[in-house]
């Protein structure tokens, strides 16, 4: 869904330095807003406000990490189907169905997320936490809120109100930090979690409000067509679901097999891997922003130029448009690789200094961090290649790629833990590299015959 990408592309092409910075900054907000802010919030809370969560600092962080990880783990497939449905509606200019699809998505995701969350609460014994009822309610609410936030993250790519989006994030994040401080002092971890949840809920509510301005919901209706589209897009669903499982599987295996445990709960954490992972994830942002603003917008334009003429043009013109699209695809991938490579290599070279600056030089194993930086490079590449595969209607290949990613990551991680004692992240790096190769292979093989694929599938 390249909608907002085009808007940012326009800003970028004003050509001034400030417009470039502006476009990339807004791009970051769009691709990674809630995710960066959550890392940032936790970082700030851990660094400066230790007192607020002093009675059990690990519990607070692990609770939030679990909420993020398991929300993606459970509902990752949902986001892709929602995104595809919205994109289809935009393509056929059927705007009325969009707000009702959002409403339906929010209702569905609430139902889907509440049940496992309640299950999780029931099998844990949180009675050792003071104000544990408040803790449980906050945990449940946060899980639902974050699940809705992912949906909103897909949806806001539609909206042109990026400044309002930025301000929503800012307001929510400030509320979260203040909430953690204030309620944490009063009610310990339970209060801190409640404060954090309130801030995230503020973001969700503000984003819903903004979306209402652009695409107002005129009637409170369930969009049955959207629900039905899950059947049609089951491969996309599978691709998204398995992809998110894949990228979390090694982390979870490290938690459960090598990590520390909070007694009475199913909470596990593995500090030597967890902190580098979250820092390394942040390095993916430039590649994602480049994809959003430059690669995808250019490709999207050429792709639709090709698609919309395939039924009307003589073969020669179809071929010309296909060639243009393939060039755009090639340039896009080259650009992402180049851009992300410079960035990753730059960080690799200056890694000791950076860790020193962030204050992690004693807690983080520099070798693990290096492996993770390479892994994240391929992870980001895989993600973008999969989006290209989806454009090419190669849903089966995309779903297969996710499946391979998941299986390889699990197998390699188990192998590493039980047999070879690789550094954490090695398995993730190998699985990401293999999946990148798999996606590249199919894209290389199938993209040049996309006209054949389209005709033979109809």
């Amino acid at each position: 869904m390249a909608g907002i990408g085009f808007e940012l592309y326009k800003i970028l092409h004003k050509g001034t330095l400030s417009s470039i910075i502006q476009a990339f900054f807004l791009g970051i907000i769009i691709v990674a807003g809630p995710w960066i802010l959550s890392v940032l919030t936790i970082y700030i809370i851990q660094t400066y406000t230790f007192g607020a969560i002093a009675d059990n600092p690990a519990l607070f962080t692990v609770s939030i990490v679990y909420v993020y990880a398991f929300s993606l783990f459970l509902t990752g497939g949902f986001h892709y189907v929602f995104s595809r449905y919205i994109a289809d509606q935009l393509y056929i200019e059927n705007y009325v169905t969009i707000p009702s699809a959002l409403l339906t998505a929010i209702i569905l995701i609430t139902i889907v997320s509440v049940l496992p969350a309640i299950g999780f609460v029931l099998i844990n014994d949180f009675s050792f936490i003071s104000y544990h009822t408040l803790y449980i309610l906050s945990l449940l609410s946060l899980f639902v809120v974050i699940n809705i936030l992912w949906i909103m993250l897909v949806y806001i790519a539609l909206l042109k109100a990026y400044y309002k989006i930025f301000l929503s994030y800012l307001a929510g994040t400030i509320t979260s930090i203040y909430g953690v401080l204030y309620l944490g002092k009063l009610y310990g971890v339970a209060g801190a979690l409640c404060g954090y949840t309130i801030g995230q809920a503020v973001i969700v509510l503000l984003l819903i409000t903004i979306s209402q301005i652009s695409y107002p919901l005129k009637k409170f209706t369930i969009n049955k067509e959207f629900i039905a589209s899950f059947k049609e897009h089951k491969r996309i669903f599978l691709m998204g679901w398995l992809f998110n499982m894949a990228i979390w599987s090694d982390k979870m295996l490290y938690w459960f097999l090598k990590g520390e445990h909070i007694p009475g709960t199913l909470y596990y954490y593995y500090i030597p891997y967890d902190i580098p992972v979250f820092l390394a994830y942040l390095t993916m942002i430039p590649g994602l922003v480049y994809f959003l603003i430059i690669a995808e917008t250019d490709f999207h334009k050429n792709f639709f130029e090709f698609i919309s003429h395939i039924l009307e043009d003589p073969f020669r013109y179809i071929q010309l448009k296909k060639q243009k699209m393939l060039i755009s695809l090639k340039n896009g991938i080259k650009g992402i690789v180049f851009f992300q490579l410079i960035w990753t290599v730059g960080i690799l070279v200056k890694l000791p200094q950076i860790l020193d600056f962030l204050g992690y030089s004693h807690t983080i194993n520099i070798a693990i961090m290096r492996i993770l930086l390479i892994a994240v490079f391929f992870h980001m590449l895989t993600l973008n290649l999969m989006i290209y595969l989806l454009y090419m209607e190669l849903q089966f290949e995309a779903a297969m790629a996710s499946c391979i990613y998941l299986v390889l990551n699990i197998v390699a991680t188990l192998f590493s833990i039980f047999y070879v004692q690789w550094l954490p992240g090695t398995s993730y790096m190998l699985a990401s590299l293999a999946t990148t190769l798999y996606c590249s292979f199919y894209l290389y093989k199938k993209a040049p015959i996309i006209d054949f694929i389209i005709f033979s599938r109809t």
């Binding site: 039924l311 043009d313 003589p314 073969f315 020669r316 033979s456």
Partner: protein
């Protein structure tokens, strides 16, 4: 095979497989009646009916006791076969067949294609969805359709070739002789049977399948651009393939025979066998003389018979002849909306009191008193109605279609171009005003029918043909 056993076969008799497309036993009409006559007349053979149709239907005929089985094949039904890797040599064969066909009009390599598909049980859609097929299609597209939409070309290819390849996957029943009643898909089946079982193939063409399809295609609004040419070419090629694989090519009259030869039928294989009727059933039926001048059309109320043309003619005739009645004799339920249009037209002309829709009826009851039989069809081969009317002693006015001009001795008074209601009316009015001329026609027509169009002769001729070709292949 979807073989439905009907009557017990008599092992002492040879078995004939009749291949009929879009006619017997599901659609009533001249061709179906002809098939029913042949089967009931030739009790010394077992018959299997291999019917090709577009949709599921109930048989409209009761099968004579010598029909031992029925296979109904739907062209639209999907063919499901296990997925298989298609070897490259298949596509090489395909390309070589198409090159021969396009450059030299040589269809001999058809048998390679058929054997390949039929022996290996490839799924037609898998063949069509293969990248090599796509490359072949784009290659021919760049030669034949370089300036227009590729999608039209592609879809014409997909739909036309899907049917042909489906037919090549079909299991055909074993028989001693295959008798196809048209070229087209039925002809293709016969050609396949010939390749597979090496048994004789007879072809009887009532109309000319490829020419009829050509008219349909030119009229159809949904066929766009090059699709039109492709479909027409394919139907012509199917005719040529059928001619190639037929041992004997029969037409009802000379003009069609010459067109068959022009389309590639070898002259020495061709033969003219006209239609025949049971003359005794119709001879001198005309016994009553009602006070009105009675004009009838014996036809199903469907567009191809152009009943509207008849009604317009009726309006014109009614203005000149005061005491006149028009009978539209035939089933009205085959195309109900067309029938309703016809009724409305009659009402608009305010001739309801003069026009009678009889529905399905025994035509002989009407031959007793009709003064003129009119045929207003857009398309006919050799209409049995004319033969019946002749035997019954009724003169005929008709549109100039199929063999009709020859049957009417090229008499310009009695012939009109299709859709020319005015000219039809003039013919009818002329006969009304010239009773002597009518008398003369009745006498000469009756002699002609007795001499050339006797069903007994027709049956005997086919009996001889069946025997001849069966023995030729068993020696």
């Amino acid at each position: 095979m979807d073989f439905v056993a009907l009557n017990k076969p008599d092992p002492s008799k040879p078995t004939i497989c009749i291949i009929a497309e879009g006619s017997y036993p599901y659609i009533t009409g001249g061709v179906s009646a002809w098939i029913q006559d042949i089967i009931s007349g030739l009790t010394n053979y077992n018959f299997i009916i291999f019917a090709i149709s577009a949709e599921e239907d109930e048989p409209k005929y009761s099968f004579p006791p010598n029909v031992i089985g029925l296979v109904n094949k739907l062209l639209t039904a999907p063919v499901e076969m296990p997925d298989k890797k298609i070897p490259q040599k298949f596509f090489t064969a395909i390309e070589s067949f198409h090159n021969d066909m396009m450059q030299k009009k040589d269809f001999t390599k058809f048998k390679d294609i058929f054997s390949f598909i039929n022996n290996n049980h490839y799924e037609p859609s898998a063949l069509q969805r293969h990248i090599t097929s796509f490359n072949i299609v784009t290659q021919y597209n760049s030669i034949r359709n370089p300036l227009y939409q590729f999608s039209d070309y592609y879809w014409a290819w997909r739909s036309s070739h899907e049917y042909m390849m489906k037919i090549m996957t079909w299991d055909l029943p074993k028989a001693d002789l295959y008798h196809t009643i048209s070229t087209g898909y039925a002809g293709l089946c016969a050609a396949c049977a010939k390749i597979k079982y090496n048994r004789p193939v007879l072809l009887t063409e009532h109309g000319l399948y490829n020419k009829e399809r050509e008219i349909d295609i030119k009229r159809a609004t949904w066929v766009k651009g090059y699709q039109r040419d492709m479909w027409i070419n394919i139907f012509n090629d199917l005719s040529t393939i059928t001619y190639d694989y037929s041992d004997c090519i029969i037409s009802l009259f000379e003009v069609n025979r010459n067109i068959q030869i022009a389309q590639g039928a070898k002259r020495e294989k061709t033969l003219v066998i006209p239609n025949g009727i049971e003359i005794d059933r119709y001879l001198d039926l005309k016994t009553e003389t009602p006070k009105e001048f009675s004009i009838g059309i014996v036809a199903r109320v469907v567009p191809i018979k152009d009943v509207k043309n008849f009604i317009i003619m009726a309006k014109i005739v009614a203005e000149s002849i005061p005491d006149v009645k028009f009978y539209i004799i035939g089933p009205t339920d085959e195309d109900e909306s067309y029938y309703e249009d016809c009724v409305k037209l009659v009402e608009n002309f305010q001739i309801q009191d003069k026009v009678i829709f009889t529905g399905k009826a025994d035509v002989r009851q009407y031959y007793k008193f009709l003064d003129v039989v009119v045929l207003s069809s857009i398309r006919e081969a050799q209409p049995l109605v004319i033969l019946e009317a002749y035997a019954a002693g009724i003169p005929v006015v008709s549109t100039r279609v199929g063999n009709v001009p020859e049957m009417l001795d090229y008499d310009d008074i009695l012939l009109a171009d299709p859709k020319d209601s005015e000219k039809l009316a003039q013919g009818v009015i002329y006969l009304y005003n010239n009773p002597d001329y009518r008398e003369k026609l009745v006498a000469s027509n009756r002699n002609k029918v007795i001499q050339f169009y006797n069903k007994k002769d027709l049956i005997a001729t086919y009996d001889n043909l069946y025997a001849k070709y069966i023995s030729m292949y068993t020696q």
